[in-house]
Symmetry: C2
Subunit: 163 residues, 2 copies
Amino acid sequence: MANTKRLCTLVLRLMAVAATLSAAVVMATSHERSNVLGLSFEAKYNHTPAFRYFVIANAIVTVYGFLVLFLPSKSQLWRLVVALDMVLTILLTSGISAALAIGSVGRHGNSYAGWLPICGQVPKYCDQVKGALIASFVGLLIYAVLLLYAIHNALDPLFLHKT
Amino acid sequence: MANTKRLCTLVLRLMAVAATLSAAVVMATSHERSNVLGLSFEAKYNHTPAFRYFVIANAIVTVYGFLVLFLPSKSQLWRLVVALDMVLTILLTSGISAALAIGSVGRHGNSYAGWLPICGQVPKYCDQVKGALIASFVGLLIYAVLLLYAIHNALDPLFLHKT
């Protein structure tokens, strides 16, 4: 039973690393050149601070997730991992939310502020950003599940074991 | 000792409620009318989905924080509060990050996407948004401290009590 749980956790963590790594790579490689009214126009992730932050956040979470994979299962450090999981989940949430907010202006624009949507001109770039956001969101969900599971184990908030 | 800790937690939670409440109110009342090239132009928080989300997130966290204030100190529900604190901290992080990303485009613009800054036209509105973001960030910091403290108590990740 304990081994199955450990294996489940390991598989989830491996999936989280894959998700945040692909999010960082897909976002960092996203660029498209387009011509608008004769003017050449390039869309690149590093033109937008929120997307740069997204890549950095996903890269940090990937490196952390990768290192945790090599932690021996009997290590006392697992207790520290819960606290670090929480901090990095917050970092990931913040990166996704910022990128999603900007991505949504890119797709829908904001007529009140006079910001025009750009996805019509650079659809491939927008799809790539969307893919990165989805991958990162999958990573976030996995970390949220791991965290809630750790809290459940440590504190039993729903009183499933004791009454 | 236990009473001092309980009082500290209560004061922190009271401060968090005040912070998220003022963030929601300041953001929800932010609006400014301005004339640009003879055209009347109104900036309002509900013109921007990210700001609406920010207000909703802060309102939810305020109501939750307010209810938790009335939880008896001996209640077994405090264990559930840790899990709920985590979920609401993630919600708050996401609201702040999205609003900050849009606020930053409002202040600095994004020349690559052709989005012009609007804070020159509506400085009062921008200052109000900034105030709301700062208040909400204070609330977030308090919840992060409460969460790390709960994890520390439950799991002792830094091995301060046991070796």
